[in-house]
C-alpha cells in the first residue's frame, strides 16, 4: 500500500510545500521582521510567493503568529485559526509567541505562549528573530510537510484540533459575574 501511495504523496506534498500562502498575525514588533524579510528574500527562492494576496484566512495554509498574544487578542487568533482550511500549519515567531517571553511571569494581560490555544508546528525563538531565521523556519516546515503521508491524515487532523472552544454557553460568563459581585 505504501509503495502505491509513495508517488502520490511526493507530488501532493511537493505541491503544498512549495505554494505556502501565509497569514500574518501581527501582534507586536516581530511583525516588522516579516516586512524586512520581503525585502531580503526578493527572489522568493525559499519563502512564499509574494504575488498571492496576504491577510485572508480562507486561502491561507500557514499562520505566522508574530508577537505577544494578550488575553483580549486570544479569541481573535482562535477565530482566525478556525477559519483557515484544513492542512494548516502554525509558526510561533519570537519568544513571546513561543512561551510568553519577558511577560511570562506575573503578567495580567499576556498569555504564556500561542500554544496554549492553538497547536504550533514550528517554534522560532529570538527577540525578535532575524529574517534569515524565519527563512530557516519555513524551510524546516517544508521538510515536515514533505515527510507526511496521506495514510496518516487522521493522525494529523487529531493533532491539529484546538482544545479550546469559544464559550458558547452563558454559564461561564454568569459564574464570572457572580464572582465579581461577591
Amino acid at each position: 500500500m505504501s509503495i502505491l501511495l509513495k508517488p502520490i504523496d511526493t507530488i501532493y506534498n511537493w505541491a503544498r510545500a512549495n505554494s505556502l500562502t501565509p497569514l500574518i498575525f501581527a501582534a507586536s514588533c516581530c511583525s516588522s521582521e516579516i516586512l524586512s524579510l520581503s525585502a531580503y528574500d526578493n527572489n522568493n527562492i525559499i519563502c512564499f510567493d509574494n504575488d498571492v494576496t496576504l491577510g485572508n484566512p480562507r486561502n491561507a495554509d500557514l499562520l505566522i503568529v508574530a508577537g505577544a498574544i494578550t488575553h483580549k487578542n486570544a479569541p481573535v487568533l482562535l477565530r482566525l485559526y478556525e477559519q483557515m482550511p484544513e492542512q494548516k500549519y502554525v509558526i510561533a515567531m519570537g519568544s513571546c509567541a513561543c512561551s510568553g517571553g519577558v511577560f511570562r511571569h506575573n503578567s495580567y494581560t499576556v498569555l504564556g505562549g500561542a500554544d496554549k490555544i492553538i497547536p504550533v508546528d514550528i517554534y522560532l525563538t529570538g527577540c525578535p528573530p532575524e529574517p534569515r531565521a524565519l527563512q530557516k523556519a519555513i524551510s524546516k516546515l517544508k521538510d515536515k510537510i514533505m515527510a507526511e503521508t496521506i495514510s496518516m491524515r487522521t493522525k494529523y487532523l487529531d493533532s491539529h484540533t484546538t482544545d479550546f472552544v469559544l464559550s458558547e454557553n452563558q454559564e461561564i460568563l454568569n459564574s464570572v459575574n457572580k464572582q465579581r459581585e461577591e
Partner: protein, 151 residues
Amino acid sequence: METEYSQFNILNKQTTKCGIEKITVDKCCFKKFISHLKNSAEFEANILYSVMACDTSDCIELNYNLFSEKLNRYLIITVLTDRNNPVCDTVTDLYKSAAFDEREIFDMFGVFFEGHKNLTRLLMPNSSVGNPLLKDYNFQKERSVHYETDL
C-alpha cells in the same frame, strides 16, 4: 493665586522639582474647582493632558494634568479617593479627552466615575476578575480568563 482659590477646600499645596504646582483638593469640591480653572479668565486651563492614578495603600490618588495655553503653564490637581469604595465625579463633560483615561483607571484600579457614559473595561477582557494594578491583586488566583463569544 491663594486668594483666588480660598473658596475651595484645598488640603495641600506643593511645587514639584520642575516647578509645576501640585494642588490637593477635597473630593466634594474638586469638580467645581476644575470647572472654575477652565472657565476663569485668569488660569484658562483648556487642555487636560492625562488622568493618572496611583495606589498608595491608604487611598487611591488621582492626578489630573492640566495645561493653560494662555499662561503656558502646567498644573496638577490631586484628589484622594477612599480605597475600599473608590468613587469620583467624572470630568468628561468638561474635557472629552478624559473619557479613555477614566475607562482605563476603572479597568486597572476599579475607581468608579459617576456620570461617565460608557464605563466599561478598556484593556482587559470583560470577563476578567479584579483590578490588576491594585497592590493586593493576586496574580495566581485571578489570572485565569474566560473568553467571550462576542468578538
